[in-house]
């Protein structure tokens, strides 16, 4: 399947670029740790599960934004997006590859963040981990898409959080609900539905974001 091969080639490129630059991932990890420390001073003495879970997701969201803001910077600064758009591959492959690469970085940051959270605040259950996986998919799919839009505007990294946060709201609800509700199934199902719905919308409309 040539589509899969295109995605693989592009994702390889993105992963290589980050491994060479070595700036986004360490920044994300450091950021999330620093945010947790800030949370400690902001929360009351014995914070409830709901309070800390909520702040966990705020942390993840803003850490993701950090990474997402950088996603299309090479394509923008070096104008290489033209090169990708001219290639005969399906334009949505560009989005999918970039999403997968961003997902890898976010997951890598969470590998540090989640144990840190468990250490500082509350233990993490299986439902939370599953919620993290599902939420990450949605965050990266939509965030990468919006990142491609934001990067061609004048405002650039000012715009991405504004575009992203209203769309990220359902993810936060689903994720927090999964962690604190007694029956997380509905929330996990909702997250999966969000991923599916917005995944399809992103996949179908990326063409219009990069080509005229």
């Amino acid at each position: 399947m040539t589509y899969a091969r295109d995605v693989a080639a592009l994702a390889r490129k993105d992963l290589l670029l980050e491994l060479r630059a070595r700036d986004t991932l360490p920044a994300m990890v450091l950021f999330v740790a620093a945010v947790f420390v800030v949370f400690h001073f902001v929360l009351p003495a014995a914070p409830s599960r709901l309070e800390t879970t909520g702040l966990l997701w705020v942390a993840i969201l803003f850490t993701a934004l950090l990474g997402l803001g950088r996603a299309f910077v090479p394509e923008r600064e070096q104008r290489t997006m033209d090169g990708l758009v001219l290639a005969p591959c399906d334009r949505s492959a560009i989005w999918l590859a970039k999403s997968l690469a961003t997902l890898a970085f976010l997951a890598a940051a969470e590998v540090v963040a989640l144990p840190l959270y468990a250490l500082f605040f509350h233990r993490i259950g299986g439902a939370t981990v599953l919620a993290v996986v599902l939420a990450d998919l949605g965050i990266c799919a939509v965030g990468t898409f919006l990142g491609a839009m934001a990067v061609v505007t004048r405002a650039r990294d000012l715009l991405l959080p504004l575009l992203f946060l209203p769309l990220a709201l359902p993810v936060v609800v689903g994720a927090v609900g999964s962690s604190v509700a007694s029956a997380p199934g509905r929330y996990l199902g909702f997250l999966a539905l969000y991923d599916l719905l917005f995944g399809v919308v992103c996949w179908a409309s990326f063409e219009y974001v990069v080509a005229e």
């Binding site: 209203p166 609800v173 609900g177 509905r186 909702f190 409309s205």
Partner: protein, 235 residues
């Protein structure tokens, strides 16, 4: 100049002056019905009347956003050259009416529960989220030079908005289970008799008003475009 204005305003089937007149009549009728004819609500009394405006404006705002998304879809799919501007004006009207939704909702909350904002009203929270979303639409649009890229990006974002409406609503409903216990519930009046008539008139009035404002703004924007083109020819 006058001829151009007339020509631009005449671009659709219904002439603008007639539309404006109909709007005025409907709004006046609605006002009369709301304040004089409709019966008092059993629980909340006279102040509940803002409900007629709040709900009809809310529905109108949704209609504007959906119309904006439809025009956006036509721009992307059919490449209709007029669709981008029409989509933008629809979204703009939606935002204006959305502002009114938040205002009337806030007034209603103050009247009903003594606070200017309540998080327990799903529809109000949904509107807040959408409001933020569509404000970002404007920031996106104004951050780009006019051209095919701006039109494409705006259209895609408008489509995202319409997908977000039901998803957000579901999210807000889900969130209530772990956020706020259901303390305040919104009861619309029991629809019957004059209440139904009043609401319907108010709703139609709002929709016609929205359409009139849409046509006015569209005519103005099209005039701007024509002026720019003429300036170029003479340059």
């Amino acid at each position: 100049m006058a001829a151009t204005i007339r020509a631009v305003g005449r671009s659709s089937r219904i002439p603008l002056p007639a539309l404006a007149a109909v709007s005025l009549v409907l709004i006046t009728t609605a006002l009369v019905l709301v304040f004089y004819v409709a019966p008092n609500d059993a629980n909340q009394g006279f102040s509940q009347r803002i409900f007629y405006f709040h709900v009809s404006i809310a529905f109108t705002a949704y209609a504007c956003f959906i119309a904006g998304a439809w025009q956006a879809f036509r721009h992307l799919w059919k490449r209709d050259p007029r669709a981008d501007l029409q989509s933008y004006v629809c979204v703009h009207q939606g935002l204006i009416f959305g502002t009114l939704v938040l205002l009337t909702g806030s007034i209603w909350a103050k009247i009903s529960w003594g606070r200017w904002w309540v998080w327990s009203e799903d529809e109000l929270v949904l509107f807040l989220v959408l409001y933020l979303f569509y404000c970002a639409y404007f920031m996106l649009r104004f951050s780009l030079e006019p051209g095919p890229q701006r039109a494409n990006l705006s259209a895609v974002y408008a489509l995202f908005g319409v997908v977000l409406i039901p998803v957000s609503f579901a999210a807000i409903r889900l969130a209530k289970e772990f956020l706020h216990p259901r303390v305040f519930t919104l009861h619309g009046p029991n629809f019957g008799g004059w209440i139904l008539v009043t609401y319907c008139v108010a709703q139609v009035a709002m929709l016609v008003l929205a359409y009139t404002l849409y046509r006015v703004e569209l005519a103005g924007k099209r005039l701007d475009e024509r002026l720019r083109e003429l300036k170029e020819v003479f340059a």
